[in-house]
């Protein structure tokens, strides 16, 4: 697995091409925004009858991570369920699969805007989880430091050699790390969106997921004036730096 190694506030982290985060020192697997039960919730609320297979798809992906890494701890960064009722409506087979994955593991459900309270499943339910100087929460906070969060479903859009690429990505700067959504049917918010302008520092990197990871400066809205200004204040040119920089910022 070609992960992206990241030293983040003294923690040696791996950003996986699947969109999960692995902290080997703590044997901790972290995933964001599973949105389990999304299609069922839309149907329940009288919306579209989407293909009802996305929960199995998401659980397939999660179990592959767990089988490969065998984590002792699992942190789900909120919006794990599309709403509080979804947790109870996953269906017997899916619930059993989830319980089998949870067995013998310290499983932490962070609450999110979609699932703001405890659900009927076992595990620890909390708004934040602190561990060795890092904090796990659903939505990035303005003064967050050493903060790992989800919520935004970031994706980066690029055009290289005539090929359009749009991929879910991690966003990382000196103080925070935002994970891509792990669930199926979750869509994404482009890094050029205004929402990221305030959240991520000027030095932010986007780590693309896919068959393997790759980091690029976080794509921003194309405004030449802003780029020039950025280069000046940050004292590094965006394109040709000459010497390789470490991803650690």
């Amino acid at each position: 697995m070609s992960h992206w190694p990241l030293l983040f506030h003294n923690a040696n982290l791996s950003l996986n091409p699947t969109g999960s985060l692995w902290w080997e020192g703590e044997s901790l697997l972290c995933v964001a925004d599973l949105h389990l039960g999304k299609s069922e919730r839309m149907a329940r609320r009288g919306g579209s009858l989407l293909p009802p297979y996305e929960t199995s798809e998401t659980l397939d992906r999660l179990s592959r991570e767990i089988d490969a890494l065998e984590p002792r701890n699992v942190v789900c960064l909120g919006d794990s369920f599309d709403d509080l009722e979804s947790a109870g409506a996953l269906g017997e087979a899916n619930t059993e699969r989830l319980l089998a994955m949870m067995a013998g593991r310290n499983w932490i459900w962070i609450t999110g805007n979609h699932d703001p309270g405890p659900v009927t499943l076992p595990g620890t339910h909390c708004a934040e989880h602190h561990l060795n100087g890092l904090v796990f929460r659903h939505i990035a906070e303005p003064d967050g430091v050493g903060e790992i969060s989800g919520h935004y479903h970031p994706k980066a859009r690029l055009r290289l050699r005539g090929v359009g690429i749009s991929r879910p990505c991690f966003l990382v700067d000196g103080s925070r790390l935002i994970l891509p959504a792990f669930g199926a049917f979750t869509g994404g918010l482009c890094t050029t969106d205004a929402a990221f302008a305030d959240v991520m520092g000027n030095d932010a990197l986007a780590v693309l997921t896919g068959t393997k990871t790759a980091a690029i400066p976080m794509p921003r809205p194309r405004r030449r004036a802003r780029n020039q200004e950025m280069s000046k204040t940050r004292n590094f040119p965006l394109k040709t730096s000459g010497r390789p920089r470490k991803p650690l910022l």
């Binding site: 329940r44 919306g47 293909p51 297979y53 798809e57 290289l160 790759a214 809205p221 991803p247």
Partner: protein, 809 residues
């Protein structure tokens, strides 16, 4: 068939006869004939442009309503264009006011104000002018029986334009519902020239009969010969700008049709470059803003324009009496469309239309020749026996459920009376009903949340509030995601729209043409492409709306026919004969019923050229399939390019036995595997899923909020492919792709026509017929193990450029 009896104005009611007489007019023969047969359940009138078709359609209505009509809706008029509905209202009010009739005419389209719509539901006009979508919407309200209960007549204008599309399917389903609500309703269809009038009458349904108007004198069409020879490839026709300008100068008003929007922009620029007299020449295409198009149309109505460079956007619509010349730049691709375009130059009904064809390259000289012959012989092409779309039926079932509980047996019987659905089986109908009710998944996940629930044999909406969402989703045209283009500063004048993917490819400083001016891309803000004027720079071509029309089967057959008959080469410019003689000398010419395949070596690359004559889209598909097979056989294909006539593949190893590669079974097997993961399939799926109501349309204003919560239809497609590949929507998608962009049907047709009669020529070098292909744009590189690999490579290059290290694996 035309009725053979003397006709004169005295057959009309007195007030109509007097009106004609007051103007010094005589009704056309077909207007009277249609009036005579006003009590027939269905009539299809086929008449050329300028023949007073629309008035013919309304004469029975004006007569039946009389001078003091009772209140209530009498006639519903449906047109494919909103603008046409507005225009007809203006045109109808003239005779109504002249005769002092108290007939109320109103239009109802997407542009109608909400207050007027509400009033129309309580107090409908005598004559309602509308579009298929607005009619579907009105029929989805519970009050529909009250509004339409007294409808006596329905008039469908430009029915030829609707008949072969999903909009037509939807309209015919709606007519069936109208007929149920008002059993005595009579139908009239108005159409331009078509290849198979009885088939079109079948689409109109209700036992419709055909009435053919006198088609008028034969059109005068010629092919333009320019001093500068057409180039070997390319489609723009810019070499002919000077000659076209001369034609414009010598005509009153000219319509210049161009096949694509980007080419229209380029040609518009080219013709202005030689417009030394500064004649008013306008531009009209679907990517321009509504305001810009309206301005051109109004100037045209006011007679202020000498010429308009336009695309299919002006195929339909208001008859401009003053047009006396039509110029078609680029091969017409389709004979029927050409005839209909030529008909636009018909300033008086009894004068011949004048038209000029301008071939844009040398292959197109052949195609233009073939098209001229076809027009002279009245040999039109067209889709035959297209069945109604099941996604449209799904939408119809849901909309009918909005209007009231649905009885499946009754609805099935009603649907079968709609022309395009006459052959639908009960099983297909039930599949659609099941999809509407439960989503139709193999896993019965939604039995609790069914959209339609059954009570006492009737299907009801489970949640009446969902009717609002369903009505928002009405319609069968799914637009590509487009972004508005505006000038930066100065209030941001709207210029038009470009595709989202095109906008995403722009880098600040890039220039492109829109609305006839070169603009520079500044930035993309809040989903608006901001540009500034850049009059001097050479533009990068705007590739908005990239799909190109493929040449019709009929026209392709005629082109082979010309190639096969050297005696006919004399009817074309001399350089064509020389070119074809040389081809015959070095290789051979394609012949009907056989397939010519050439192989030759050029610059260390082995080339293979397949003259399939199956149209651009089918050749593109064939290229993808053949290169896949070549890759499996270790022949290292490197790329291919296709046009409407042939496919050229190059690679490292020569193909020694082309016939073995071209077997239908193997190609079909490859198709299934390749097709499933193809981007064209995903695009088709998105359209089907939107029409059928699985995905809701992006509504204006919704886009900015909560975009991350939306899901991509590609992911839905992948999920269904994995877990439920036989889902109704997947089946519809496959059927549609086989006809549409993938066009596999034409490859099958070609292979079955050829039946293994493949002529292989191992030519000594590049052949004259294959040479133009090397100049074609749109070469497709073979991506080896796929797009992902290429993307990874590109990312790595970017990393290297940015000085970022690739992490150790």
């Amino acid at each position: 068939m035309p009725i053979d009896q003397p006709s004169d104005a005295t057959r009309l009611p007195q007030h109509l006869t007097r009106w004609f007489a007051d103007r010094g007019w005589t009704p056309h023969r077909h207007q009277l004939d249609l009036y005579e047969r006003r009590d027939d359940p269905g009539m299809l009138l086929i008449a050329p442009t300028g023949g007073g078709k629309t008035l013919a359609g309304f004469l029975p209505t004006l007569a039946e309503l009389g001078e003091n009509p009772e209140p209530g809706l009498h006639t519903v008029y449906v047109s494919p264009l909103k603008a046409l509905a507005t225009d007809i209202r203006r045109n109808l009010s003239t005779p109504i006011n002249d005769m002092g009739l108290t007939i109320r005419v109103e239009d109802r389209t997407g542009d109608t104000k909400a207050t007027q719509k509400a009033r129309q539901r309580v107090d409908p006009p005598h004559i309602l002018l509308t579009t298929p979508e607005s009619l579907a919407l009105m029929l989805s309200y519970p009050e529909a029986p009250a509004i339409f209960g007294g409808v006596q007549r329905v008039v469908v204008d430009e029915i030829h334009a609707l008949a072969e599309s999903k909009r037509g399917d939807q309209l015919m389903l709606c007519l069936s519902r109208l007929q149920t609500i008002s059993p005595h309703m009579r139908r009239v269809g108005l159409s331009a020239t078509v290849e198979d009038p009885p088939a079109l009458a079948g689409v109109l349904g209700h036992g419709s009969r055909v009435l053919l108007a006198d088609p008028g004198p034969e059109p005068q069409i010629a092919m333009l010969e320019t001093a500068e020879l057409p180039p070997w490839s390319g489609m723009g026709g810019r070499h002919a700008a000077r000659a076209v300008m001369d034609l414009v100068e010598n005509a009153n008003t000219t319509l210049i049709f161009i096949n694509t929007r980007a080419q229209a922009e380029l040609f518009f620029q080219a013709i202005w470059a030689v417009n030394s007299k500064n004649l008013p020449i306008g531009l009209h295409h679907g990517s321009l803003s509504r305001e810009a198009r309206l301005k051109v149309e109004q100037a045209m109505v006011a007679g202020e324009m000498r010429a308009i460079v336009c695309t299919g956007s002006l195929d339909l619509g208001i008859d401009w009496g003053n047009v006396d010349l039509v110029i078609q730049v680029g091969a017409p691709k389709n004979v029927k469309r050409l005839v209909q375009r030529i008909g636009r130059a018909n300033h008086t009904y009894n004068a011949p239309s004048r038209a000029v064809l301008v071939p844009a390259n040398r292959f197109e000289v052949l195609e233009c020749r073939a098209a001229l012959d076809a027009v002279a012989e009245h040999d039109l092409d067209g889709d035959t026996g297209r069945a109604g779309g099941l996604d449209v039926l799904c939408q119809h079932i849901l909309l009918m459920a909005c209007s009231g509980p649905v009885d499946p047996d009754a609805l099935f019987a009603e649907v079968r009376t709609a022309g395009p659905y006459a052959g639908i089986s009960r099983a297909e109908f039930d599949d659609c009903l099941e999809f509407c009710a439960t989503g139709g998944y193999a896993l019965k996940a939604y039995d609790r949340w069914r959209r339609l629930v059954e009570r006492d044999g009737l299907y009801h909406l489970r949640d009446p509030r969902s009717a609002r969402n369903l009505r928002m989703n009405v319609g069968t045209i799914v637009g590509t995601e487009t972004l508005p283009v505006r000038l930066r500063g100065g209030g941001g004048t709207p210029l038009g729209e470009v595709e989202e993917s095109f906008a995403a490819s722009l880098v600040p400083g890039d220039t492109f043409l829109i609305g006839g001016q070169t603009v520079k891309f500044e930035n993309l803000r809040e989903m608006v492409v901001q540009v500034s004027r850049q009059p001097t720079r050479e533009p990068r071509i705007a590739v908005f709306m990239g799909t190109k029309l493929a040449t019709s089967t009929k026209l392709s057959e005629r082109v082979i026919g010309i190639l096969d008959a050297p005696g006919r080469w004399k009817s074309m410019p001399g350089y064509i004969g020389d070119w074809l003689d040389l081809q015959n000398h070095i290789s051979r010419l394609p012949t009907p019923g056989r397939l010519l395949v050439e192989t030759f070596q050029r610059q260390d690359r082995a080339h293979i050229c397949v003259y399939g004559f199956a149209g651009r889209n089918a050749h593109q598909t064939l290229g993808l399939l053949l290169t896949r097979r070549m890759e499996e056989a270790g022949l290292d294909p490197l790329g291919f390019v296709s046009n409407d006539y042939a496919l050229l593949i190059w690679g490292l190893q020569p193909v020694t036995n082309p016939a073995a590669m071209l077997t239908a079974d193997d190609l079909r097997a490859g198709l299934d595997g390749w097709l499933a993961s193809n981007a064209v399939m995903k695009r088709t799926f998105r359209n089907v899923a939107t029409v059928a109501g699985l995905i809701e349309r992006n509504m204006p204003g919704q886009r900015k909020t909560g975009r991350q919560a939306t899901f991509s239809s590609d992911i839905l497609y992948d999920t269904l492919l994995k877990y439920d590949p036989d889902h109704l929507l997947m089946r519809i998608t496959r059927d549609e792709a086989a006809r549409g962009l993938v066009d596999y049907g034409r490859i099958e047709d070609m292979l079955s026509r050829v039946e293994g009669r493949i002529d292989v020529v191992h030519a000594p070098h590049l052949t004259p017929l294959a040479a133009p292909l090397l100049l074609e744009v749109g070469k497709v590189p073979i991506r080896g193990s796929g797009r992902q690999k290429l993307e990874d490579q590109a990312v790595e290059e970017l990393l290297a450029e940015a000085g970022l290290a690739v992490p150790a694996a």
